[in-house]
């Protein structure tokens, strides 16, 4: 297919927040009462995502992440603006689009609570009309990579969160979707389960070139999976570009940890001032922070070697959390 896989053009979604009315007649009145305040959950969102991209869609709570995704899946109809996904307009061709997308909402399952995972998957096979052979192949791949065999015949309501998420992922991929929407896919999972899901997603994207749009609060997900991020705040895109470029632009200092063979003593403090900052000095270990625009790691090493023999060096990139926090709080931001 030519052109982008996902394209959003000036998407907007307004909701009317109505007063809650009590009692049976209150319910009847809220049916006819058109009053209330309009709020825009998504004000003006435009972006374009190509086939095979894995894009992180991030922003604070209430920024409009889920609302955008719901418009791109056909769950919500935009108040204005247009979306084209896999060549379809979601609101006009909801069912055709559904055949092309897989969706995982971390907060709620797409499976049937009262059915065993195997039965849920069989239901979905009929729903998406997946050919028997293709179904077997996809099911086997999922069983192997997501390790489903232990709980294939357990009712979904009895699964642990991590098991359920793996089941949900298997379900979302049965019909070979071109696009995978992941809304908080690692929420509430332990480190091992998170790592397993991330590895699976990375391998999947590498092998099938599925396009992935991922929202998450866990920025480690983004760091490990996405080269590109789109940051949304108050219903508007505030950043769209490479993760690395974001780091450069919004600072976030790089940290270098120097392990000397012995404590360099107080003399080390003279390092500071060369666009460097001593963050921590504990025996032979010294942590130095610097701005990557003005200083480089070799220069830090060269300067440090005046104070003793450096046995080991490790570099820490600024945490994406800090970068994004800085972005919201920085001088360009409209935040108070």
């Amino acid at each position: 297919m030519d052109g982008p896989m996902i394209e959003a053009r000036n998407l907007e979604k307004r909701f009317t927040v109505r007063r809650h009315r009590e009692g049976a007649f209150g319910a009847m009145r809220s049916l006819v009462d058109r009053g209330g305040n309009e709020v825009s959950a998504v004000k003006d969102v435009s972006f374009s995502i190509n086939r095979g991209e894995m894009v992180g869609y991030i922003g604070p709570n209430g920024a409009g992440k889920s609302t955008t995704i719901k418009m791109l899946t056909g769950i919500l109809v935009p108040s204005s603006g247009e979306a084209t996904v896999a060549g379809f307009t979601p609101r006009e061709s909801r069912k055709q689009l559904a055949q092309q997308i897989g969706v995982v909402f971390g907060q709620r399952t797409q499976l049937w609570w009262d059915l065993a995972l195997a039965d849920s998957l069989e239901l979905l096979r009929h729903m998406y009309r997946v050919p028997e052979k293709r179904f077997r192949e996809n099911l086997n791949r999922a069983r192997e990579l997501l390790v489903l065999d232990d709980f294939m015949h357990t009712p979904v309501r009895q699964l642990s969160l991590g098991q359920r998420m793996r089941g949900d992922l298997a379900a979302a991929l049965l019909h070979d979707p071109k696009i995978l929407y992941l809304d908080e896919p690692t929420i509430g999972l332990d480190i091992v389960a998170k790592a397993r899901i991330r590895e699976f997603l990375a391998a999947l994207n590498r092998e099938t070139h599925v396009t992935v749009l991922l929202t998450t609060h866990d920025l480690a997900d983004i760091e490990q999976l996405c080269r590109r991020i789109i940051v949304i705040d108050r219903g508007q895109v505030v950043y769209d570009g490479e993760l690395g470029a974001l780091r450069n632009r919004f600072g976030g200092k790089r940290h270098v940890i120097l392990d000397f063979d012995q404590d360099p003593g107080d003399a080390i403090s003279t390092l500071a001032g060369n666009n460097l900052e001593i963050v921590d000095h504990n025996g032979p270990r010294v942590r130095v922070a610097f701005d990557r625009e003005t200083t480089s790691t070799p220069r830090v090493l060269a300067l440090a070697s005046h104070h003793g023999t450096v046995r080991d060096v490790s570099i820490e990139e600024p945490a994406i959390e800090d970068v994004i926090r800085q972005m919201y709080e920085g001088p360009d931001s409209q935040h108070p």
């Binding site: 049916l31 899946t73 056909g74 069912k95 969706v103 059915l115 729903m127």
Partner: protein, 270 residues
């Protein structure tokens, strides 16, 4: 794009898989059906008690009223069995569960029908058939081939109308998440009304039941035809056969309403 037939076939498959789980506990399965049968036996007892005091109801005999009871109850219970999933639409919307319906390549309405599968209302259906059997033995119907062929049409029309009414109630929950008990008057009230001869009701109620909710066209008028009775309301004889047409029109309006509801769906936060 799937045709309606393909969609229905998939829905039946889904219902089958869901039923399989329930039949795994046969005792509880039959118990549900049996208790529904017993509960609805009370209705026929009430009718018998009424006729024990009065000889007729608006000049209709016990058998004739029982006939009306039989066809309405049968149609209502089949409709209820098919549409049982629609009952959960308000809670699905309130809890944001409706999202998943909209990300699947199947009609949202058909998915909703099979979102819950239960055969418990078939007990009521059995009761309806029993009453119909009594009615046929208590009345002296002059059967013709046309009448015999029209019987399944009457039941099917009634089923369609009741499903449409359940859908109508579900549609309202796209606009208000508060449960509205009042609207049950349309469904359960409609079913009760359809069990009695229309001419015993007040004029406004008759009009409501003919021209707003066309229950009169799916039970009372076809019954006049089968029983070979005159219409005390003096309407044209065409009314007796209008049921399928009027119901089709009603269903179209409800289908339009459902699509409006989907467009209006707001999901939940997160």
């Amino acid at each position: 794009m799937l045709t309606l037939r393909q969609e229905c076939r998939i829905a039946i498959r889904i219902a089958g898989i869901r039923l399989r789980g329930q039949i795994a506990y046969p005792a509880s399965f039959w118990m549900q059906i049996f208790s529904s049968f017993v509960i609805h036996a009370a209705e026929i007892l009430a009718l018998l008690a009424m006729f024990n005091r009065f000889n007729d109801m608006g000049e209709w005999t016990l058998g004739e009223v029982a006939f009306l009871h039989g066809i309405s109850m049968t149609a209502f219970s089949i409709g209820d069995t098919i549409a049982v999933g629609l009952d959960s639409v308000p809670s699905q919307i309130r809890e944001g569960e409706f999202d998943r319906v909209l990300i699947r390549p199947l009609s949202s309405w058909i998915q909703t029908l099979v979102s819950e599968v239960s055969l418990r209302h078939l007990g009521q259906c059995a009761q309806g058939v029993v009453i119909l059997g009594f009615a046929l033995s208590w009345t002296d119907i002059q059967w013709t081939l046309q009448k015999a062929l029209f019987m399944p049409v009457i039941i099917a029309t009634g089923v369609a109308l009741f499903i449409a009414l359940f859908t109508l109630v579900a549609i309202l929950s796209f606009w208000t998440v508060n449960s509205i008990e009042v609207v049950n008057a349309f469904t359960y009230g409609g079913s009760d009304l359809a069990q009695f001869p229309l001419h015993i009701f007040d004029r406004w109620m008759r009009n409501l039941f003919l021209f707003v909710i066309p229950g009169g066209f799916t039970a009372y008028y076809p019954a006049l035809y089968i029983l070979g009775k005159d219409d005390p309301l003096g309407m044209t004889d065409t009314f007796r056969f209008l049921g399928p047409l009027v119901t089709a029109g009603f269903c179209l309006v409800v289908a339009w309403g459902w699509n409006q509801g989907i467009r209006h769906y707001r999901s939940t936060g997160s």
